[in-house]
């Protein structure tokens, strides 16, 4: 879709301003019921679109993303624009700088329409923990869009943006992509700079694209990937144009299917999955059963590491430097339960009223796991099991080039269905957390439907093999469409 729009912009069939206005009109028409956006950046979008149109009119060369309307998750900073991360504690926070990804998109001429809804601080799998509103799945308004990047997934699925950015800590791009029937890509840890991304779990977080095709996802990845001195964990730039690797040829590629992921899988999802495996075989790939023996420990490992890092990262929301404060001098309507007098009371009250219950639960779990006397039993143990999980993948990738599984054990579920019991919600991430723990790249693409609801297939590749990953996904996507 991006290439088509690019061609239309160059030929003069449309203009960036026209495109931006058309998408803004769709948002005005639909977003009242879908709820994908938290903040619209109409003024900035139109200014950017005019600048792109002027460049094209002047005969200057513009990149593929120039003039194409997109959306970004509300945990990424954009200078002068509110960034809430779905939390009340950042309700009045205006980002003083651009995240590296936003800076790169601006330089590319991308037209950012707004900031999308998300689970509070990206903690959730349904976007129901947003402090602001629910986002509905554009395919069925009684169902969740998945999460935590539910707004970004819904915006693309509803045609309220051509593409969007999300962040993925345990599946927060791939799971909503699966539930909304779009493509979602989580790059290798370090491939994309995290500078300006409001941190959740720093050893797991990674930014990536949502798009309506694998090619679009590849184009976006090329624009946002690369080393950044503002993020010491970012990997050396490869300067690859991932869209140049889409040959669609996967003959003799070895694809492993982890037997542990298929145990107890819902029969209807299994049938859709098996059909897609047949397509891969027809394309000439060699399918092998593989084992990832520590898979059943992945979710517990993930939750220990993630909550520990969360408790540390969220310590910065203290009511002193920015964000909500329980006795904020700027806004007397925010004063609750009498005025706190000393520093400790400001901390306790600010975090009590500013943070939602899922966030508090995770901060407390992580605080416990890192507290004196428990560190070895929880965090250290989990980092050791994580090493074993990585070893599972190293062994698997000595045998196969790519790993393939369903993205989620289910299709989109109904509002409230899982929000009662935190552990049930956590199980939504069961196939996705391993890629974050191992740091490898993974992509979810739509592979079929069960009772009208989309099912996602997940491909996982070796560290930094995004080109192989997108090409395999591209081949499968084409074969499913034919």
């Amino acid at each position: 879709m991006i290439r088509e729009l690019h061609a239309k912009l160059l030929s003069g069939e449309t203009t960036a301003v026209e495109l931006a206005e058309r998408y803004l009109a769709t948002i005005r028409e639909k977003d009242g019921s879908i709820g994908a956006y938290l903040t619209l950046t109409e003024k900035e979008a139109l200014a950017q679109a005019r600048a792109v149109d002027a460049k094209i009119a002047a005969g200057e060369k513009v990149g593929l993303l120039a003039g194409v309307p997109c959306a970004i998750k509300d945990n990424m900073c954009m200078e002068g624009v509110r960034a809430t991360a779905g939390s009340k504690i950042l309700d009045n926070y205006i980002a003083p700088y651009d995240a590296t990804v936003v800076k790169r998109l601006k330089e590319e001429g991308a037209v950012i329409l707004g900031k999308t809804n998300m689970d509070e601080f990206a903690m959730g799998s349904s976007t129901e923990s947003s402090a602001y509103k629910l986002t509905k799945n554009p395919l069925d308004d009684e169902r969740v869009p998945g999460g935590s990047s539910g707004g970004s997934a819904a915006a693309v699925a509803a045609g309220e943006a051509v593409w969007s950015l999300g962040s993925d800590t345990g599946g927060s791009i791939r799971q909503p992509a699966s539930l909304c029937g779009v493509v979602g890509l989580k790059p290798t840890y370090g491939r994309v700079s995290r500078s300006g991304l409001i941190a959740m779990a720093s050893s797991l977080d990674q930014i990536g694209p949502f798009a309506s095709s694998v090619e679009d996802a590849a184009i976006i990845l090329s624009a946002i990937a690369g080393e950044d001195k503002m993020d010491a964990t970012s990997a050396q730039s490869a300067d690859k144009r991932y869209e140049d690797y889409l040959s669609g040829d996967i003959r003799d590629l070895k694809i492993g299917i982890p037997r542990e992921y298929l145990e107890g899988l819902n029969a209807e999802i299994r049938a859709v999955f098996d059909e897609s495996v047949r397509k891969l075989t027809q394309l000439g790939a060699r399918i092998e059963e593989i084992s990832l023996p520590h898979s059943s420990y992945a979710l517990a490992t993930y939750y220990i590491i993630m909550t520990s890092e969360v408790s540390s990262n969220l310590a910065r929301f203290d009511g002193i430097k920015y964000g909500l404060r329980s006795d904020d001098k700027r806004d007397t309507s925010k004063v609750e339960d009498g005025l706190p007098k000393n520093l400790l009371e400001v901390y306790l009250d600010t975090r009590r009223y500013g943070l939602g219950s899922e966030v508090k639960r995770r901060v407390m779990l992580g605080t416990y796991a890192l507290s004196s006397g428990y560190y070895d039993a929880y965090y250290l143990k989990a980092q050791k099991v994580r090493a074993l999980l990585r070893r599972d993948f190293e062994k698997a990738f000595a045998q196969v080039d790519m790993i393939y599984s369903p993205t989620c054990p289910e299709t989109a579920f109904k509002f409230g269905e899982k929000s009662v019991d935190p552990l049930t919600m956590y199980l939504s991430d069961i196939y996705t957390v391993t890629a974050n723990l191992a740091g490898i790249p993974a992509i979810s693409l739509p592979i079929g439907r069960v009772e009208g609801l989309p099912v996602g297939g997940q491909l996982m590749a070796k560290w930094f093999d995004e080109e192989g990953l997108v090409n395999t996904a591209y081949a499968l996507e084409k074969s499913l469409a034919s």
Partner: protein, 95 residues
């Protein structure tokens, strides 16, 4: 199962104010997840090196040099501060 006192202690460490009723709610929820965590005790990890950085990156260094940004971003940053005095972030009294 955690005790209510333990939950109150954790909440204090995390600087999250909670009342009696919330303490009981979190006691049950957090205990259930901790039970789930104990699954890892089944895994033999003797002699396993814990993960430091997942892609094996080590010691990223930069020059130890002060960069003077002048007043760049100063106004935007201070506009986010709940209480400012004479251009400084005002902190509540500690005592």
């Amino acid at each position: 199962m955690l005790t209510k006192e333990e939950v109150v202690h954790i909440a204090n460490l995390a600087r999250i104010g909670i009342n009696e009723e919330e303490a009981e709610k979190y006691r049950q929820e957090i205990s259930a997840v901790l039970d789930y965590f104990s699954k890892l005790n089944e895994v033999e990890t003797e002699g396993v090196e814990p993960i430091g950085h997942i892609t094996g990156m080590e010691n990223v260094l930069r020059e130890d040099r002060n960069e003077d940004f002048g007043s760049l971003g100063r106004e935007a940053i201070l506009a986010n501060v709940p209480e400012v005095k004479d251009g400084y972030v005002k902190v509540k009294s500690v005592l």
